[in-house]
Symmetry: C2
Subunit: 294 residues, 2 copies
């Protein structure tokens, strides 16, 4: 754990926001498309994925700035996935983080295209990281595309859509989240590891750490939907029950989910210990995810 | 022009079909997602983009097989764009090439995800072309992502959606097609050029050639919508007029469009001449595009 965590978060969130804004603003693209892309990028959020990448670089004594472009690419992919997930044909959400969803403002056609644009542009951004060797850029794209694609995040969303209205068990729920959330969280860590040339053995441990972290994130999400405050979480409390969504809380109880969260958190923390990373920002992010109220 | 063009087309279409099928079948992904991705990949079509890549490799005395993976990636991107363009929120098409569109079979949610999956996986495929150097893989991804993204194909679809129901002029129509069709046709040629290490000067000419070729393709498309046979083109003749779509034919006349097609074709052919490529399959593809009946 590092003492100046909040300063770290503030600094790199600001760099990220500025770079994301510049990327979109500088595009030679129709104004309406740029606006739609920027709208969801600006909607903010916790920026956990880019911060994980920055934290790995810091932990292995690389300047976090080295990953600034890749951090943007990862956030573009995360944002595209939210835009598409919110569509009427998918989760049909009108609000996200307390703001109207992309298609409520720009229409379904533009929301689909804004998502397509962000996804495609993210690979352009990584391929054009001229400060990194060609080999590193290829390894980054392999990692990101595998995590975001039909064997990763897209598969997770498919499983999620298929589970709708059905009764699933906790293992099936875990499969959804491992793919839908976990894979891109792992990829964010691994992108940092690729840039910083972290040894293969530690990379493997970071993958396990990211898997636990992703699960912890999701369990806390489910708990907050039951016991959180509407204002803080940006959507009505209890919406999971209302939407007949299977969650860690609906499948067990708030108490069981809390125990499960604690176990998962402890597994993540133990891995950090074995990598001598307990004094890094990764530990702070871990604590933040498990204790967050939004 | 080369004599055995039909054999070339047959051979590499077959290789492409087989490889595309294997790529999707081998995915560790939900069955329904694989089926939805495979459905539109199998729907066939002319495979012009991959054939252009193969033709460049052949023209510069590289084994076309060297580009087999990249050819698949390009066709995946083309297929994703068709699936998303056909969606109810976009062009709302029920049929393509005489077959029900993806969302008519698999639903809108799965069609969106099949498109997202194909787009993402295409970059994974290129990043994993282990027969090519890291530098070539990066250059290929730069080229493809630029052409397919918010400054290319996505921009073209945005302009197309915005033009709906409005009166646009021939220059605006051209802008739509340069982005929507032209950019990926150019990228297909350039991918061949990158793999074959074609000199920069010839690469520039191939870009111009591809731009004319893309326009010629689109003009012929518009002409066929007016004078073609429903059975051959796979959609009702006259659907552009019915949908109040601006085309080269609706903005001028069949006769003027035919003159414009001939001019564009001749510009393309002249560039091939200046590159000593008149005896290549690129010339055959050029003739095919200008004279096709479907």
């Amino acid at each position: 754990m590092k003492k100046d965590f909040q300063a770290f978060v503030n600094k790199y969130k600001m760099i990220l926001d500025q770079k994301l804004f510049t990327y979109v603003e500088d595009l030679h693209a129709p104004r309406i498309l740029k606006d739609a892309m920027a709208y969801s990028l600006k909607a903010g959020g916790k920026r956990i994925r880019p911060l994980l990448l920055y934290a790995v670089l810091d932990a292995f004594e690389n300047a976090p700035e080295l990953g600034a472009e890749v951090a943007c690419a990862i956030e573009m992919i995360h944002t595209y996935s939210l835009i598409h997930d919110d569509l009427p044909a998918m989760d049909n959400d009108d609000y996200r983080r307390g703001m109207p969803t992309n298609h409520k403002i720009y229409g379904e056609d533009m929301a689909i295209l804004a998502g397509d644009g962000l996804l495609t542009y993210s690979f352009f951004v990584v391929a054009n990281c001229t400060d990194l060797t060609f080999e590193k850029r290829v390894r980054l794209i392999q990692e990101i595309a595998a995590a975001a694609g039909p064997e990763g995040m897209v598969a997770g969303q498919v499983l999620d859509m298929e589970a709708e209205g059905k009764s699933i068990d906790i293992q099936e729920l875990e499969q959804i989240h491992l793919n839908k959330t976990g894979r891109m969280i792992v990829a964010s860590l691994l992108c940092g590891a690729i840039i910083a040339e972290v040894p293969e053995e530690i990379q493997k441990k970071l993958r396990m750490f990211g898997t636990y972290l992703g699960l912890a994130f999701q369990i806390q999400d489910d708990i907050l939907d039951k016991v959180g405050e509407t204002k803080k979480i940006g959507k009505p409390v209890g919406s999971d029950v209302e939407n007949k969504k299977s969650t860690y809380v609906t499948l067990t109880s708030v108490e069981t989910a809390k125990t499960y969260l604690l176990d998962t958190y402890q597994n993540a923390v133990e891995i950090l210990d074995t990598c001598n990373l307990s004094q890094s920002y990764l530990k702070n992010i871990c604590d933040w995810i498990a204790n967050r109220s939004n």
